[in-house]
């Protein structure tokens, strides 16, 4: 079995894994970081989004071995010292979550979106959310939260 080693939320993580192990399985099952979720099997819902070397990717559509040597950031590592990230704060402030299942992927996507596009408008946020599905909120408050966070982070 291949040995894979990466940094997850600033800490080294390595293990012998089956070649077919997905990054999301490594994160959830190997490391016990269950904040990253799996909501579909066709790479569309985005509940599994994490950052690999600073960019949002779908951890259900990446082998753990592909992340060899990479820096991984999951929802648990977004605000390690307890002080919430502005995007986390905005999701709470603007009620951008209900059941919470899509939320970690939404937040990780939003952080990446704001990094890439500091001048967001509503239309852009909606387009950029193409790969994240929420069934509870109708996206109204997610969009509001992301816009508010992007203002805050400007």
């Amino acid at each position: 079995m291949p040995v894979v080693a990466m940094t997850v939320n600033g800490k080294p993580a390595s293990a012998d894994v089956e070649a077919r192990m997905l990054l999301v399985q490594f994160i959830r099952e190997q490391l016990g970081l269950t904040g990253t979720h799996v909501g579909c099997d066709t790479s569309q819902c985005g509940a599994c989004v994490v950052h690999v070397d600073g960019r949002a990717v779908k951890s259900c559509t990446m082998l753990a071995t592909q992340a060899e040597g990479a820096e991984i950031l999951t929802i648990e590592g977004l605000a390690p010292d307890g002080d919430l990230h502005p995007v986390q704060k905005a999701f709470r402030e603007h009620h951008g979550l209900q059941c919470g299942f899509c939320t970690p992927g939404m937040i990780m996507t939003a952080v990446d979106m704001i990094r890439r596009k500091p001048d967001l408008d509503e239309e852009t946020v909606r387009e950029e959310l193409e790969g994240n599905i929420c069934r509870c909120t109708g996206y109204h408050n997610i969009v509001k939260a992301i816009l508010a966070a992007s203002q805050e982070m400007r």
Binding site: P2, E18, A19, R20, L22, D41, T42, S43, Q44, G46, V49, V52, R55, A56, V57, K58, C60, T61, M62, L63, T65, Q66, E68, T109, D112, M113, R116, E128, E130, G131, N132
Partner: protein, 265 residues
């Protein structure tokens, strides 16, 4: 997923050697199509050879009248490249509209065209921009490369190194997305360049990407949206499914072509 051996070659040469050695290998670049396929147990390769990290395949170079893009260059990189945006904004826009942001951070040019999904975007760009596909063995003209759904001219053991996109004078890509999957239900790439005028359609046809000579001729006479507006394609040969009939897709080709010409200016 079924079990497989995973290999991460350090060079393209290593990759070729591994490819030659394995029983039933698959190349992995970004994995945005291959991994979902493996997850659904629709493929059972003996070996997965990961060339996604090969630096020698990850580059964008503007040289002379063309842009060379390495096969393992990610969609997001192409979309954001200053060179591509300057010389070939239609290609940058196309790359920036593939899948979703997370997919664009992983998916690669080479992976897309090697797979030749009939609803993929890049094949339309290659065909319409008279692209040259350089492999480890030879140079293949885009016109010769795409051989129908999921079929290409690539032979066993052959790896795409880079694709050369000559600069167009005018070009634009318009996509009508499948409402559910968001893949191209009909995507039309129109271009004008040293190669003349080309109109390539992805998503709509039963045999994958194709050119529309009637539209090309009409645009040669009169480069304007009106020129293609009256070119109606037959429904025969178009895909039909719950998202739309063959007639609807044929109609959308005309609409998207018209809009693409308008956008190309």
């Amino acid at each position: 997923m079924y079990q497989f051996n995973y290999e991460r070659p350090k060079s393209l040469a290593d990759a070729e050697a591994l490819l030659a050695k394995a029983d039933d290998p698959k190349l992995l670049a970004g994995g945005q199509t291959l991994i979902p396929t493996l997850k659904q147990r629709l493929a059972m390769p003996s070996d997965v050879i990961d060339i996604g990290g090969l630096k020698e395949l990850d580059f964008i170079r503007a040289e002379g009248d063309a842009i060379m893009i390495g096969a393992a260059t990610k969609h997001a990189t192409v979309a954001n490249s200053a060179d591509v945006r300057k010389h070939n904004p239609a290609l940058a826009a196309l790359a920036g509209g593939i899948g979703d942001p997370a997919v664009r951070h992983m998916g690669t040019l080479g992976g897309s065209i090697a797979n030749n999904d009939p609803a993929a975007d890049y094949p339309a760009a290659c065909l319409a921009l008279d692209a040259k596909i350089h492999t480890t063995k030879r140079l293949i003209e885009a016109d010769e490369f795409f051989k129908g759904m999921f079929e290409t001219a690539l032979q066993d053991g052959e790896i795409i190194r880079e694709v050369t996109f000559p600069h167009p004078e005018k070009a634009a890509y318009m996509k009508f997305r499948n409402p559910a999957s968001r893949y191209a239900m009909v995507g039309v790439f129109v271009s004008k360049g040293p190669w003349g005028i080309r109109v390539a359609v992805t998503g709509a046809g039963q045999n994958g990407v194709f050119r529309v000579s009637e539209m090309e001729e009409a645009l040669a006479k009169n480069w304007s949206p009106d020129a293609v507006a009256n070119v109606k394609l037959p429904a025969k040969g178009m895909n039909a499914d719950l998202h739309g009939s063959a007639e609807y897709r044929a109609h959308l080709v005309t609409v998207m072509a018209k809009r693409a010409v308008a956008a190309a200016g």
